[in-house]
Symmetry: C2
Subunit: 290 residues, 2 copies
Amino acid sequence: MKYAIGVDIGGNKTKYALLRDWKVVSRLSDITPKKKGDLIKVIKDDISKLISFPKSQLIGIGFGIPGPLDKKRRLILNPPNVKALSNVHLSEIMEREFKIRTKMENDVNCFTLAETLMGAAKGFDKVIGLTFGTGIGGGIVIDKKIYIGAFGGAGEFGHMSIKFDGRKCRCGNIGCFEEYASEKFIWRESGVSPKELEEKVKKGNKKAKKIYQDYGQNIGVGVSNLINILDPEVVVLGGGIAKAGSLILKPIKKEVDKRVLLTHSKKSVKIKLSKLSDFAGAVGAALLLK
Amino acid sequence: MKYAIGVDIGGNKTKYALLRDWKVVSRLSDITPKKKGDLIKVIKDDISKLISFPKSQLIGIGFGIPGPLDKKRRLILNPPNVKALSNVHLSEIMEREFKIRTKMENDVNCFTLAETLMGAAKGFDKVIGLTFGTGIGGGIVIDKKIYIGAFGGAGEFGHMSIKFDGRKCRCGNIGCFEEYASEKFIWRESGVSPKELEEKVKKGNKKAKKIYQDYGQNIGVGVSNLINILDPEVVVLGGGIAKAGSLILKPIKKEVDKRVLLTHSKKSVKIKLSKLSDFAGAVGAALLLK
């Protein structure tokens, strides 16, 4: 039997997945401490908790990181959501601790890999993944492998320009997808959380319905861009909206139907919600060892 | 010695390239007749003219087509710029005529392949190609192979949405890259041809300069989207603007510098003008046989 551990370090929570022969056998969720020393200690402790088998059967530990990595130097640069990891050689620290090989990858790349190998896009060769939260993350998996681009920067979907209304993104530019399709949009337009807005929509509130529809349409514009550019078989959507079901899928699909140029692609492409949900990133981090 | 012939069928002109041992040894340009029968006759005649060597040395003929193909059925669907080719089994017709294998591919995919193997992006593994004319064409070459996507539809860059100002594209949607970065933009804003506008800019005309700068900026927005999504090593720009040199490259690079998120990608990516120019498509069509 072979074990692999995946760790998905998020802004508030860190998720862990233990895989035995590439099947999920255990999950764990813990806080993400704000200080570097605390964070590293918590991760070491949590990983140790998961190792309840002969250590010789562990083949490695994968880490999903929310932000830019210098893959050559195996260094985490400056993830805005987990500042404690800035300039940290996490891979090396953990290799020294557990005497085992480690891998590190962008968290949404891990998400997309997990959904491709075990989730909503299982069996498909050309998959795009997006996660929607305070920002938008993106991943591309081609022929079961993460496509990282030439310099490790592929998948920055959140900062593609989709429309201009003068609104400035945190990156300094205008028009960014993130401004119109991350949860920021919902807060800005409705003043309530995505979950509260969903409740209002389900109760038939007209204003809420309009905002939710605009939101879905905006997502659809960005997703259509990606389909026109990359022509995938499946687009997997994760993050908060993955729980909204057809409520969000309907306006997205409507926009995709309007905007994807090639008839054959439009008819064939599947827009799906995440199947692995909150643990997709951790599972994908473990699958990096495959 | 091995020969390959490439044919690039454009709206007005058809270009031919003869390659000997994968080097260009001959070029030919002819009109594209408007009627199907005439077009096929002209292509047959022109190919015959190029075969001035023992026919056993010809390994095949490649065709670059401006528009949607059904690759499984090897059928040209409905290219808006060459209506005479609608529903034509060009590959089969030419195989019957010349008793040799043929290949067929989107013309901008051929352009990008040629620039990657022999032109501006020679030696690079992740390349994006764009051609600017009355529309915008796109191609992606990864590891020296054309990336066509799951259903043959990848590279429809012209219809990604980049900004909205209510202007409708011929596809029926608003915001399309093509509306802001094809030559249509220049005609619309200046009332003159791209070449005339360039002349005015060179003479120091302020209004012309502003339009040209906006044009470059618009191209830059779309190119930045593609870099944020695909993280290529090189972006090759072809079509009319390939002759404008630094005049157009400067505003494009300025926008890319503002909009590409990952510092490493921004510093490393190269934006280049086509080196093979008008015959890139034909050369790339021949390279399909490689």
